[in-house]
Symmetry: C2
Subunit: 385 residues, 2 copies
């Protein structure tokens, strides 16, 4: 038996060609393409297809995929009715797990295939993938209206994935810069090797569960505060600080008490998170464009960033992707408790790429345990205990 390593840290659980992290150099690639290039030139739709198929699509393939996504934005009437029965104070991630689990009943597929059979049915596989990714955004934005007592805003077919998301969320024509920023945020969150939620995709997929069950499981895993919830914490921290002049004291106190500064540092990167660099640039563009008319949270964030850079950069701790995405989402009018659902919307692309990869060469996950319990003992009747 191999050595027991808690959390399977450093234990290879799969062979994968989807993404790669060079934590020393701060490089993240999807299918070999550095994230900076995708953020600059690609779209969430194209990046999703790249993650799924392994290559940048031709213009025709991309147009086809885009059209399929657009056609699948609507959800059936009964899904909305189902969501109306969910308590409005529940967490959106619980709503999302519920709604995505239900999709399998509304849009059923075939029994899951593996190996060659799977690879020969890529049209079918694509179809299932589209059904999920397209509807994730609709479900998340529907909930924002339903939980406040309003009917949702129907999706539009003339908008990109990111534009349509903002449109469904607000009911207004999306601001082009905010739509661009959301598009980049979706690209940046689409994939990140074998984190806990992606790992749970592999485990669930390995029993040949349906892709809906697989994604619903991953949403559950992502919902934990140790995984998907950090950008919500950033906003809560900025609110707690209250104004830029109080940032210095707040951070000093946190550091003195060895408490986490939310949105700073990342376990995988010894240098600045490449995703954070991209968002930092967009964040500064947005501030510039807004001129004097700036959200007070932005000013606090700039000050927190400056102080942390001064104090922590020498230790390899920089603002991470959660730091900027949280602030940018707030600027789009997205409530803090919906940040993780947007993470899930984006990550559904990576999850489904890993679902595909797992099934193409499947083996059920059944690790073993170090048994540390009682030896064999004898049952005593209840009146003798």
């Amino acid at each position: 038996m191999s050595e027991y390593l808690p959390g399977l840290a450093g234990v290879p659980a799969t062979k994968s060609n989807i993404s790669d992290i060079d934590g020393q150099k701060g490089i993240l690639t999807y299918r070999g393409f550095p994230l900076e290039q995708l953020a600059e030139h690609s779209s969430f739709e194209e990046t999703t297809l790249l993650l799924l198929d392994g290559e940048l699509p031709s213009a025709t393939s991309l147009a086809d995929f885009d059209m399929q996504l657009k056609k699948n934005r609507v959800v059936k009437y009964h899904i909305r009715e189902l969501m109306k029965n969910l308590p409005s104070r529940g967490h959106p991630m619980e709503m999302l797990q519920t709604a995505v689990a239900s999709l399998g009943m509304f849009y059923p597929g075939k029994e899951c295939l593996t190996g060659e059979d799977f690879c020969e049915n890529l049209n079918y596989v694509h179809d299932m993938t589209v059904k999920i990714i397209a509807r994730m955004a609709t479900i998340v934005t529907m909930w924002q209206h339903l939980r406040n007592g309003y009917e949702p805003v129907n999706p539009r077919k003339d908008l990109s994935y990111a534009e349509n998301f903002l449109y469904m969320l607000t009911g207004k024509e999306p601001d082009p810069l905010l739509a661009k920023i959301l598009d980049v945020c979706l690209i940046l969150h689409a994939e990140h090797t074998i984190n806990a939620s992606t790992f749970s995709v592999l485990v669930t997929a390995s029993t040949l569960a349906s892709p809906y069950s697989v994604v619903a499981g991953a949403i559950g895993t992502l919902s934990g505060p140790l995984h998907g919830g950090a950008n919500q914490k950033v906003i809560e921290m900025l609110h707690a600080i209250g104004s830029p002049d109080k940032a210095e004291e707040y951070i000093s106190n946190r550091l003195k008490n060895k408490e986490v500064i939310w949105g700073m540092g990342h376990r995988e990167y010894k240098t600045k998170d490449p995703r954070a660099k991209i968002l930092q640039k967009l964040f500064r563009n947005l501030i510039e464009k807004r001129g004097g008319n700036i959200n007070p949270l932005f000013e606090i964030a700039l000050e927190v960033e400056r102080i942390c850079e001064e104090r922590l950069a020498s230790k390899g701790v920089y603002a991470n992707v959660d730091f900027y995405s949280g602030i940018l989402y707030a600027e789009m009018g997205i409530p803090a408790d919906q940040f993780t659902t947007i993470f899930a919307v984006a990550r559904s692309a990576g999850w489904l790429a890993h679902w595909r990869e797992q099934l193409a060469d499947n083996r059920i996950f059944r690790p073993t345990q170090v048994y540390i319990g009682s030896g064999i003992r004898t049952y005593t009747p209840i009146d003798q205990r």
Copy 2:
């Protein structure tokens, strides 16, 4: 980096003191107690408490736990309304994943604790556990009525877990022998070390996701045909055989074509599955009690069992737990597509015991990958592809 082992076969993923399998000798113990003793003397309620707490409960603790379970059998009105919006032809495991995921919104808990904080809050932990285990049976039996267009049968507080399950399923006073058999089936399915669904519990729990999200994820993993669906396949096979005199030919053909005989053999056991031995006895009791008035499926099953024993026992292949449980469930009037939901009802005890164990000494699961993809390459604009 350690060696890559597909499916993490043989790789220890946790230290656990909940259950243990000796596959050579055919022994399965829960907290040290051989399953045969629990099946003979214990109840599902007591076994659940044993799995959760590690010791056989005192009479008072058991009575308390039983009362908590009984109080938590009802589900809120809106859960029923939510379920009414699910398509009746969907699979019950998809319904169950949906409904359990929604429970977190209806019966919210606190943010998940770990380590000492977790161990100091066992009352709270118990409370969450009861909320889930008690409602699983209600949800599964509700669905049986709702999907056929009827209002569900309300739970009763004067019946045991197994009795009440049969009562809610049929609306009739439960047959004592069938209730005893169901109770034993629940005990036998409550726990089985680190299988795929239990492993997904550990992964999801490790991000501090809520226990509802954890169990919903595990239901997804269990739903795959490589994991939870085998007893449904047994019934389908018996129907396909059609009559006892056709069993010989059917099995010969399957063996000649190297096809699976459903319900025969188990990867973990080199000898007869101890759970199968227990059920075989109950199966024979039931046949005896029924005298001449026997379901034709029983006769086919007896013949399949006899032929397989003759041909496969020398290779260490025997009828497993799925072989008998499928037939027994059919006799209780449970439709074949609900067998896996009953498996989930029973296994929720083991899942929540592992949830507890994981959080008492948590480390987030983040294994690594063997990257076999493209090296760094440059993005080409779409018109140059």
